[in-house]
Subunit: 337 residues, 2 copies
DNA sequence: TCAGGTAACGAAATCGTTTAAGCCCGTTTG
DNA sequence: CAAACGGGCTTAAACGATTTCGTTACCTGA
């Protein structure tokens, strides 16, 4: 491994001079700089991030916390998209990405300790159980954090528009003539609560009555539970004309159930999903859904975190709302007389 | 930040003693150890991975290279599953995971340089363009690497059974009476080549003739291209009775195309996918497919890499084959008279 | 009683890099 | 002409941890 020391010996200058030359300090002669840079390239010198981190207290490494109950949240395209754009933006700004976990090896640590242990400059937190005290400890710590779809006190967060999404969907199906709209929602989280409230509020504002039994629980990303909810909806005396699913993938369960009953989409039943993942756009009929801009969320999270790291003084915590987009597919029938 | 020095002062011993006590050396008195450990806990001491890495030359951090042309390979469930289990196993063995990229910040490096820069102890390489010289440079370097679904010289690799998969599928549909079997394959990679050869070889061994035009190219994970290939197959004078798709997700494109032609699965056409992702198991009819054991692949990759890192002397490079499993769904009809 | 053994701990170097402070010397300025 | 200045470098300490040798002090056996 070629180090600054090797270069300094080769060039007949001190290590300090080499360091400064390589880092663009102005108190080194132009030709000395040129020579040092040339020799460095010749010898194949690479800076050592570890030594730098130790000395400077900055690692240029950010941690990500992406764990849900079912292992990592990575299997959900929404989260893997976020991670992807987060990674791209972070790298563009000179930061690497490391996963943060509990219990590394036989050493048991919590998230906060792990982050300190690895000297991460900051952390992005998504897809976790925000009721976990270990998560809260990290968010509430002195370490810069950005949370996704969760607001904690006065910390920076990036939020999908969980109010606008359901609202847009309800407004759209309303325009298409639907008045009997059912809503299948995911597990009880703050995201779900927001969507649920938005659904009810929008319905109320449009003068739509939501009958008992039209709002049913299921589990995100679980077609089976959405299938069951669908079956229950179909058994109601006054069937809905439109069903909103908790997410695109869960819709598959509903799709199967409807097919089993010989109910055609959208002729006999209108449906819409949520997320706008790739799948929703390749299904036929194309699924009407609300696309969350995962790419923007990841990018924004990285950008805000790096900002918080690099300008701790001037950087105010903020909640950033990333709006999504209604994708009008072919699964909502226009039933206006 | 509380360091070993702080503890040493508090306990009235030297830093060396603290370090040894914390690391379980035997040349420290039992009660001294007890006291040091107690004080360390009291003061909230955390080891500093950076300092340790610098001193020991071992980071307990492994890099992952998961990039395909379309951004990261993360959007494909096969790869995100691998990454997930890789992460779990690595963490269990005391290693963290960092993404390796080109061009970190304005500093441009290749993969090898990035790995050295971050002092990663080893790298897992998957889902990349193996014809990229930068990838080859990394694989061929002195850094321990494990490649997935790619064999390079005498390096360790973990391989999905790309011979057994197509073979199992062909045998199965053969048993179900099919003799006119079409095969849509992905882009030209070593994986594709193996599957293609396996398809042809298995057909030959079963005495199945593969007519001109029954083998068609498409793109992995791209329903559109598989849809086109499907349309072409349907236009043939002697239509196949069964179509094998490059992967489960691509099958969606075929499904749409078949539906458009009013062709019912499996009554009018039998189909099978590849991968065994979640989607394939929630579709109705359930997709017949060959499940790649992504979980085992990630786990094995981590295990082998850590072994190579920790026992460089006794650890031989090896190719590990992870076999998958035929999932008999409901999309292949038994057409035996 | 004394050589030799051992248990318990410390001094100091080291990993690769950065940086505050200082030094030397030629040039400018009052 | 002396003092002040500044460009260009160097010295040395520091970041936090580990480890190789010592160095004690105490014990044991002959």
């Amino acid at each position: 491994m070629v180090t600054i020391k090797d270069i300094s010996e080769r060039c007949g200058v001190s290590r300090a001079t080499v360091s400064k030359a390589l880092n663009g300090h102005t108190d080194i002669g132009a030709e000395t700089i040129a020579q040092i840079r040339r020799v460095a390239k010749e010898m194949g010198y690479l800076p050592n991030a570890t030594a730098r981190t130790l000395k400077l207290g900055r690692s240029h490494n950010i941690g990500v916390l992406f764990v849900d109950k079912t292992g990592s949240g990575l299997k959900h395209e929404y989260f893997s998209s976020i991670l992807d754009s987060l990674k791209v933006e972070a790298e563009r700004r000179g930061y690497d990405i490391t996963f943060i976990s509990k219990d590394i090896g036989e050493f048991s640590m919590d998230y906060y300790e792990h982050t300190k242990y690895r000297n991460c400059d900051g952390v992005v937190i998504a897809s976790v159980d925000f009721s976990d005290p270990a998560v809260i400890r990290l968010i509430a710590s002195e370490i810069p954090t950005v949370t996704l779809d969760f607001v904690y006190d006065n910390r920076t967060s990036v939020l999908s528009d969980n109010i606008g999404g359901p609202s847009a969907l309800v407004h759209y199906v309303y325009e298409m003539g639907h008045r009997r709209i059912a809503f299948i929602h995911g597990e009880d989280t703050s995201v779900t609560q927001k969507r649920l409230i938005s659904f009810h509020k929008t319905c109320a504002s449009l003068g739509i009555r939501v009958p008992e039994g039209y709002v049913r629980p299921a589990i995100y990303h679980d077609p089976k539970s959405s299938g069951i909810a669908t079956r229950e909806l179909l058994a109601l005396p006054d069937r809905p004309t439109c069903i909103l699913y908790p997410d695109d993938f869960s819709f598959i369960g509903g799709m199967n159930e409807l097919e089993r009953h010989g109910i055609s989409i959208p002729n006999d039943m209108s449906v819409a999903g949520y997320d706008g993942i790739l799948l929703s756009q390749v299904l036929r009929p194309r699924l009407t859904t609300y696309r969350q801009d995962a790419e923007a969320m990841g990018r924004e999270a990285a950008a805000r975190l790096v900002e918080a790291i690099e300008q701790p003084k001037t950087c105010l915590p903020q909640q950033i709302m990333i709006s999504g987009q209604l994708l009008k597919g072919d699964t909502v029938k226009d039933i206006n007389d």
